[in-house]
């Protein structure tokens, strides 16, 4: 019964990101990717996209590593395949973290390009990496937060504000702003 119902459902689209230890060599990362492909094929799923995002800095240490190799892939499959994939991830010591997210219940037809599902290992180059991240850090320190698309507008209207209510304190400012804008909308409509 349940099997019959499941069979009627279209395959769902899932996306997975797993993080490998930063010190994995090319062979190991390829082995993991191959295992993923095998599991997906064995359980009757279809890989639709594989991307290697390379070595990235982690926001917090995982297993005492500050970096990790991110690999992203999407596939069509069912819940059993997700469970089997995650079981395999748990068995692999190189995989520090993984997360599966369902993208769509009914993705429709997806054309699979053989090029897109090839895993390309990234050669580890620790020294370069170290320099790069340092530069990035410095860059981050120097560059202030990029303005939100809205905040440009906001700063505009802040300068406009100066004429009507000056230095009321930020909180008071905001309050009066909200009230006014509501009034205005009412007037306009």
């Amino acid at each position: 019964m349940t099997a019959a119902i499941q069979a009627e459902l279209p395959p769902r689209l899932y996306e997975v990101i797993y993080i490998l230890r930063p010190d994995v060599d090319k062979e190991t990362s390829e082995r993991v990717a191959q295992r993923v492909a095998d599991v997906v094929a064995r359980e009757g799923g279809t890989l639709t996209l594989v991307e290697n995002w390379g070595r990235r800095r982690l926001s917090y240490d995982i297993q005492h590593y500050k970096r990790g190799v991110y690999v992203y892939f999407t596939f069509l499959g069912d819940g059993a395949l997700v469970a089997e994939l995650e079981r395999n991830f748990r068995l692999l010591d190189e995989v520090m973290r993984f997360q599966t997210v369902k993208v769509s219940n009914d993705p429709g037809e997806i054309e699979v390009d053989a090029e897109l599902i090839k895993f390309e290992a990234v050669e580890p180059s620790l020294d370069e990496e170290e320099e790069q991240t340092l530069e990035q850090e410095l860059g981050l320190v120097q560059v202030a937060r990029p303005p939100r698309p809205e905040s440009a507008d906001e700063s505009d209207d802040e300068s406009d504000d100066e004429s009507d209510d000056e230095s009321d304190g930020v909180a008071a400012d905001d309050m009066s702003d909200d009230g006014e804008s509501e009034d205005k909308e009412g007037d306009a409509e």
């Binding site: 990101i17 993080i19 982690l58 926001s59 917090y60 240490d61 995982i62 990790g68 991110y70 992203y72 973290r97 997360q99 997210v101 937060r145 990029p146 939100r148 698309p149 809205e150 507008d153 906001e154 505009d156 209207d157 406009d160 004429s163 009507d164 702003d177 909200d178 006014e180 804008s181 009034d183 205005k184 909308e185 007037d187 306009a188």
Partner: protein, 84 residues
């Protein structure tokens, strides 16, 4: 209110004043856990989620944002906390 009339850029002014949900306003902007650059605006310096009354998001997008931030944290795109 009184500022409304004399201004030439009346429409732009009014639009900027409406603090609507930025994700409702701009459909091209999507909440994605893989894009910590967008999510960063909606957490405090310590990585805590900002409440709706501060973020200005609508309920629907605040919900989506919360999920996205939590997913991003698991994959170390964002910190759970800065205090470790």
């Amino acid at each position: 209110m009184m500022q409304d009339e004399p201004r030439g850029e009346k429409d732009a002014y009014r639009r900027s004043r409406r603090r609507g949900c930025p994700f409702c306003h701009d459909e091209t902007q999507v909440i994605d856990y893989k894009d910590p650059g967008v999510l960063r605006y909606f957490v405090t310096d310590r990585g805590k989620l900002v409440p709706r009354r501060v973020s200005g998001l609508c309920a629907k997008h605040q919900r989506a944002l919360t999920t996205a931030v939590k997913r991003a944290r698991v994959l170390a795109f964002m910190p759970f906390t800065t205090n470790y």
